[in-house]
Each structure stands twice: as C-alpha cells, then as structure tokens.
C-alpha cells in the first residue's frame, strides 16, 4: 500500500498516535499498557475484567504482547516474540461499531475508495480466559488487519451487556500501510526526524536476546515453581474475607488476584516455548489458568466496578 496521499502516515508511531486520537475523539478512555507481561491486549484488566458486569465502559490502549514461541531472533519479516496490539473495548457494543471501526482505518490512512474491506467469519475463543465471542477478522485487500469480536462469555460468565472488542495487530497493519516488507525496516519515528529510528533500531537486539532466553536459557524449574506460586497466591488472595479487618471496608482483591492469573498464563507460555510441556500436560495447564481466570471473574462481579451495588439494608 504505497499510494502517496497527503493523508498517509509516515511512521509506526504516527499510526499509533492517530489511533489514540481517533478513539479518544469517539469517547474512549485512552489507557496505558498494563504493566505486566501478557500474551495479548485482551489480558489487560481493562478488557478482561471490565467486560464483566453491567457497568458501561469504553477504553482504548496499546498493549505490548509477548508470544515466546513466535520468537525468530528478529529475522522473520513478520514474526516477533514481542509486538504491539491496539485494543478497543466498548460496553455495551454500540450499533455503529462497524462504522466506527471503518472510520479508524480511514484515520490511519486507508482510502476506502481504493481498498477492499471485508468482514470474514472468525470466532474468537480464549481457552485460558474461559472466554469466547463471535465476530470476524477484517481483511483489507486480502490482508487480515484486525480482529472484531462481540464478547459472549468471559471467565465463564455470560456477558450482559455485550462488549464489542477490536484488536489491531499494529506491526502488521503499519507495515501494510507504510508499504514495508520486513518489520525491522519499518520507520519507528518520522524518517525525517533528527535521529530517524527504525523498528530494528529499537527492537532487533531485544528480539535476539529474548529469543535466546525464551527458547534455551529460561530456567524451567524456576518457572514451574513460579507457576505454582502464582496459582497458590491467586487462591490465597481470593480466599480472604471481603471485609478488610484494618479499614473495615469491603475490599475484594479481584485485580491483585487477576495479576497472578496473568503471571501464571505468561509463565505457561514460556514453559511452552522451552518445550517442556507435553501435549497432554498442555491441556491441563490451560485448564489451571482458566480456573484462575474464572475465580477472578467470579470475584470481580462482586466488586463495584463489576456492577455490585451495596443496597442499603431496609
């Protein structure tokens, strides 16, 4: 996609900035990335937890995402073990969500009169989050540029109201819009900047370092122990009484517990990359993470953000 229009963005970061501005203008709270290692933007509590319960919500954010098995030492033109997703979650899903989405493509320089945008069936399921939804992958000229999902269930809970979720794979989308063939060649900041930086300048070395660590060095015994500890801590947090003995307030620690769930999930991904999880064990580990996610979801719906309201005693 190399047509030269004045509207065309010039760098990776410009595309991100335009998305931020666009969704801010549509009323989303522009949030920051979650400060933990996650496999996808969906794991951010702003999506996973906030899609639960009855309260309305609208958020957009960039989320660095890690998929250790996708590491290619920065050599593969499209695959990275660390990459960025842009995530939008709106609850309840507005009737014009498709139009809002198409507007975001125009905002980042996709000329709707020249391109072929299609909504192709793709149902989303996250076995680790106990979540699923129906929707599409969005194609632009045969290229998958986003995932579009109406959440039906999260953490084993039916979603009421239903959230609409949009996920953009930022590197791939940006490479397409900027006409770049290898991710490492993509301009990260403006090519005419005083110090122009490519994606490779920023991330080539880290891709190498993490690929080596993910595949060959990460201490699996330590990781296995961390997994168990995270699992135990999650359960211990949720086992606490709802009323905090110190403040006397009702404080359910859904978010700290969910942090442990995120942690367990990422450790599982690392163990998977290290090749120490057999096919049969795999399902068991996924089941364990799902159990944590479900418990966190159970806890979150009892909190205020999850729609709980303490009705005054009659």
């Amino acid at each position: 996609m190399t047509q030269s229009t004045s509207n065309a963005p010039r760098s990776f970061q410009e595309i991100i900035l335009r998305l931020q501005n666009y969704w801010a203008s549509k009323g989303c709270a522009v949030m920051q990335p979650y400060d933990m290692e996650v496999g996808a933007g969906t794991f951010h509590p702003a999506t996973t937890l906030r899609s639960l319960g009855s309260k309305s919500w609208a958020a957009a954010y960039v989320q660095p995402s890690r998929r250790p098995t996708d590491g290619r030492y920065g050599e593969n033109p499209n695959r990275l073990q660390h990459y960025y997703q842009y995530q939008v979650l709106i609850k309840p899903s507005p009737p014009n969500l498709q139009e809002l989405y198409l507007g975001s493509l125009e905002a980042i320089g996709v000329n709707m009169d020249l391109h072929d945008i299609r909504f192709v069936e793709d149902d989303w399921e996250s076995p680790t989050l106990g979540a699923w939804g129906l929707g599409w992958e969005v194609w632009c000229d045969g290229m998958e540029v986003s995932q579009f999902t109406y959440f039906q269930q999260v953490g084993g809970h039916d979603c009421h109201p239903v959230s609409g979720e949009l996920t953009y794979g930022l590197e791939r989308l940006a490479m397409y819009i900027l006409g770049i063939d290898h991710v490492m060649d993509m301009p990260f900041n403006d090519p005419d900047a005083l110090i122009p930086l490519s994606y490779g300048d920023v991330f080539k070395q880290t891709e190498e370092e993490y690929a080596r660590w993910n595949f060959d060095v990460a201490n699996t015994d330590v990781l296995l122990r961390h997994f168990e500890e995270a699992e135990a801590e999650c359960a211990a947090i949720l086992a606490q009484e709802h009323q905090d003995p110190k403040t006397g307030k009702r404080i359910i620690m859904a978010h700290p517990a969910y942090d442990q769930c995120i942690k367990a999930s990422h450790i599982f991904n690392l163990l998977d990359a290290r090749g120490v999880i057999s096919v049969t064990e795999r399902q068991a580990y996924i089941g364990r993470v799902r159990a944590l996610a479900k418990q966190c979801a159970d806890a979150f719906v009892l909190t205020e953000a999850g729609g709980y309201s303490a009705t005054p005693a009659a």
């Binding site: 996609m1 009737p95 391109h115 072929d116 909504f119 069936e121 045969g142 039906q152 057999s278 049969t280």
Partner: protein, 747 residues
Amino acid sequence: MPDLLIELFSEEIPARMQARAAEDLKKRVTDGLVEAGLTYAGAAAFSTPRRLTLALEGLLAESPTVREERKGPKVGAPDKAIEGFLRGAGLTRDQLEERDTPKGAVYFAAIEKPGRPAAAIIAEVLEDTVRNFPWSKSMRWGTGSLRWVRPLHSILCVLSDEAGATVVDLDIDGIKSGNTTHGHRFMAPDEIIVTGFEDYAAKLKRAHVVLDTAERQQAIWQEATNQAFARGLEVVEDKGLLAEVAGLVEWPVVLLGDIDAEFLELPPEVLQTSMKEHQKFFSVRNPKTGRIEGFVTVANRETADQGATILAGNQKVLSARLADAKFFWANDLRVAKSETGMAAWAEKLSNVTFHNKLGTQAARIDRIAALAREIAPVVGADADLAEQAARVAKADLSSEMVYEFPELQGLMGRYYAEAAGLPQEVANACEMHYSPLGPSDDVPTEPVSVAVALADKLDTLTGFWAIDEKPTGSKDPYALRRAALGVIRLVLENDVRMSLFAVLKEQANEVAEGVAGVENQLFIQSGQAEELEAEFIKNMGVEDILAYLNEKDELEEGDRKEFEQGISFLERISDLLTFFHDRLKVFLRDQGIRHDVIDACIAMEGNDDLTLLVKRARALEDFLKSEDGENLLQGFKRANNILSQAEEKDGVEYSYGADVKFAEDDSEKALFAALAASEGAISTAIEAEDFAAAMGGTAALRAPVDAFFEAVQVNSDNEVVRRNRLNLLSQIRKVCGQVADLSRIEA
C-alpha cells in the same frame, strides 16, 4: 392477491451459513403462514453477506373463515355439563342448536373462527421465526437479549398488491419493521425505499448488490474463466471455494494476478492450498505446463483504479504467505535429503500422542509396520518395502509444511520420500496409504500402498474397538465407518484374500500388549483356542460357549475369570467383524445387491474373507434372478418348511441320510439320483470357489424337486416312508446349504 417481501438486514453473515439460513427462513415463514391458513403461490429465498431475503407471491389476503361443528351434551343434561360445553365452545346457550339423534335430543354448537388479515398473521410468524431461528451459532449484542448470527439491524416487511405497498408492522426488541434497506456497504450505503420484490431487486442491483447467490457465483466463474482464457490460462475448478467466495461479496469484481516467479517451483498442491486456505484465491493453471502460475481473487467493489491497488495488496499478502511456504519447503527438503532423512521426523512422533488411550503416533507406526509386513505377501508386496513404507508413511506429520497445512499430509510425504531417494513404491505409499478417503476416492492398487493402507486402517479400527470407542448414531469422530469402508474397497478392488478375523485378532493383541489400560488380553489356554474360535465364528453366543465348555468340565474355577476376559476380547473382535459386515451391506446395497442375499452369504463359513463373501453374494444375486434360481428357492423353502415343522413336532433332527430303498415313487428315486449327482458337483465347484457353477449345480435339482413335491406326500401314513422322506428333504437342505443359507432369503 398480495405479494410479500421480507428482508433481515444484519452485519456480515458467515459465508458458510448463508444458503442454509435462506432456506430456513423460507421454510419457517411459509410453514407458519400455511399453518395459520395463509397459503401462497410461490416462494423464493436469497442471501448475501448482509441480508436474508424472502419473496412470496400470490398470498391470500386473509386466512379463510373456519367453521366447526361440535356435538354437546344431551338436552336436559345437568347444567354443569352444559356450561362446561359452552365454555369450551365460547358460546352462550341460545346459540346452541337442538337436534334429534337416535339417542334423543342433543345440543350442537356451530363454532365459526373468522379469518384474519394477512398482515397480522405475517407479523406473528415473522417474529416467531426471528426469535427462534435455527442458527448453528448465534450471539447477543449491546444490551439486548435477542439472538441472531451477528447484530440484526433492520427488518423490511412489505405486503403489496394492486392498491400499493404497506409495511407489516412489527417490533422485535426495538427493531421496527419498515420498507427500507441499504445498498452496498461502500459503493451505495444510502437508504433505499422499496415497494415490492421486483422494485427491491432492481434497486439493489443499482446499489451494487447482486441478490441471488447463484447469479454471483455464475458471474464470478464466467469472469474468472474469461480473464484466464484471454491469457491462455485456465482456472482450477473448486465449487466449494466458489460458493464461499460468493458468500463474501455483494458486488463481485474478479481480479487476476500472477504468482511471483520465485514461488513457481513449489509443488502445485502447496500453492493451491496456501492460496485457497489463507486467501480464498482460485488457482490459475497454465494448461501447457500444468503449473499453477496465477490466481484469481474476488473483490467486493469497483474502484477508480480498476482494482489495481486491491490486486497489488493481495499479491503482496500472497507473496508473504508463499515466502513462508517456500521456507518450510526448503527446510523440509533439507531434512529429507539429510543423512537421517525422514527417520528424524518419524522419531519425533514418539512425542506425539495419537490418542491418550492408544499411545503415541510412534507406537502406532510400529504396529502398522508389523502388520503391513504381515499383509504384504497376501497382497503381493515385498515385505521389506511394505515395512519401510509404513515406517515413513506418517513421517511428514513432523514436517513444517504439514504442520502449517495439515491437509497436505501424505502428499508432502511423497515429495519428501522422493527427495530422500526412497524407492518409488515407498514414496507412493506415503501419499496413497490414506486412500480411499471417500466412497468415490480412488483405491490404491500398487501392492506396497495396499499393504500400508490396509494396515493403517485395520490398526485404527482394532485400536478404537479395543478401547471401546465405537461410532454411535451420527457420531463417528474418528471416521471409523470410513476406515472400514476403506478396508472393504481395498480388499474387494484388489481381490485380496485374507481372513479378516485372524488379522483383527492379531492386531488387537498388539494393541492390547502395547497399551496400558487395554486389559482384555487374550487368555485362551492352548488347545482350546482353535476350538473356541471355530465355535465363535459361527456366531455362537458367549454364554453358549461358556455353557459348552463348562459342560466339558475343562475350566478350573480360577481360570474362569481369565477365560471370560478372553471371551470378552473375542466378542469385541467379533463385534468389529459384524461392523465390517454392516458396512459391507451398505456398500453392496448401493451396488444393487439385496440385503437378504448378503445375509444368506454372511451366514456361511469363511465370512471374514470379504472377497469370497462378495463373490458368493454376487453369484447368488445372479442366480436368484434366473428362473431356475427362483424356482429352486421355492422348492428349497418348501422342503425346509416341511422339514422344520416336522423336526419341531418330533423333536429330532432328520439328518441321518435317507435310503433309496424306501423310495416308493419314481420321482422320489429320481430326486435321490439328482441329489447324489449334484452334491459332488457342487462341492467340487465350491472348493474351486466357482459359485456360479455351484449354483448351476443346485439348479439341476429344480426339476426333480418340483416333480417330487408334485407326486409325493411327504407326511405319509407309513412312518418309515415318512421319516425317509424327511431325511431326503434334509439332504436337499444340506446340498443347497453348501452355496448359501437360503433360509435367509426373503420371498
């Protein structure tokens, strides 16, 4: 008479669901209308990615008035009874009619249900249809609880006649019906007001929507083949893909592109699969070289640059995909050509679970290899080659290409085996051992392929039988019916002669030994095994065998449990053999062989040799179609009936052999002679497996049997003569019984 137009306009409906949904809409709505008395002259349903449409012609303007007469209580019956009747009928007493009947005066009620206007009925039926639509997967959205395949945006429902068009009012969870729709999402998104179907279809076309799926398909195919033809190329036909692509567009625009030269060396199947699975492209072939050189993509819009940007984008995505495929291909070839070759992949399969109760792929391959070796001589294959082939046939499951494109399993195996310099028969077996996959799929004929194909399927079947995972009803997750049919076709089409029972038993033992949890080992004490099997194969029940053996006092109390396990094991294999027979019946029925003919042959010894069994069945089918056969069957049935009745009555079996010296009538003597003559001829023919000749031999009995029954009364007053004649009938049964169990043939 009015016409009705309904359109349900939604976000994009999955392509694979559209055709079915249009049919469901038609069926649900028309069934509902007809049930309410609203008949119609014609109906047509349509679907696009964003709409389901139903057009009905010649609908009744209102449902007819229905009159019903009900008989009530007698005049003078208790008030309670009369009041109850009135309540049920919704009438008052003065509306009842008294009528004289033979039982006295009785009240009658005439109930009239007035007709209702079409609009009221349509609104009800459509609401019910939308609320209970049979989507295989549906969803909620926003704050609502209505379910649809994707968010439903509007309902168009217009009833039109000479006087004009009116909207049928309905409101489903806030979605109000109207007379508007929208055109193409990008090319003509504005609102369109419609008055009826013709207006609707015409306006949609102007708004860049082709309503009819068949028309879209045809347009795509025609344009694609035209563009290809203009460049001396041809489009590879793919009806499934055409249907899917037509479900992804409302305004199809066909674009033909070239595959970058650096990818043309990839196997054509890889190109085709990658393009189809990932991009939904058609492959375009050069008929001169047979190579795939181009692709056809179908866009959903026209553009000012004639699709140049869209085509360039698609081409770029394809190149990225094919770069992956090329990378896999190069890596895989490097492994295949290395010193270890495909063995390195085969080794990896010891980490891959086939089924958690049946162990790893590697363990399975060991079993298949051993069995392929055993089967090899039977199918005329070299045992070493068969084993070698079985050992590499599934190695490609570890290759990168098959990991990416599972549907290329087998085929990649062949390419890699060829690259590894393995014998051609081995390479062919890698591909062919999965065949036949469907009833119309070609059956392998090369002996090595046949051996591995049989071994693979037989191991699968015995394995799943051993762990009791049999198909039930419509559930057959491991495609075991297909595997059994595959075995049947491999055996029959290659004229393979083997005892299936022996092979299954042996293989089930292998499974049992190798797999923990499969406990039904074969614990038959030596010396009993053969006897037991002989009994078993004659379909003797387990209890009968146990009783028989108990009687013979051959079992110690302690051995009994083990023995029963052995029986249960044999019972499973016998059950598997029955499964084969059931599949065979279905297969032969499709070829016009009657089920009772097959049953008559399955009842014979050696029924686990499928080739023999089918040979017999075909001969019997032909024979029974002949006049001789038909008449002989009558004679046989008559003899069998008389004999069975007598045996039941007398409590004895007349099988001692008749003596010609007690024969009184000439026809009786002639029958003796005929039986003596044919018995020899028939057994010789049977031994030579010449069933047609054997049946011909029985045909020679037809005239003497007919003459005998004509002239002779079997149940003679003379007990000696009677018994002798019964024994003679028994002889008929025995001689005829050599060819098949004719008692199972239905009249």
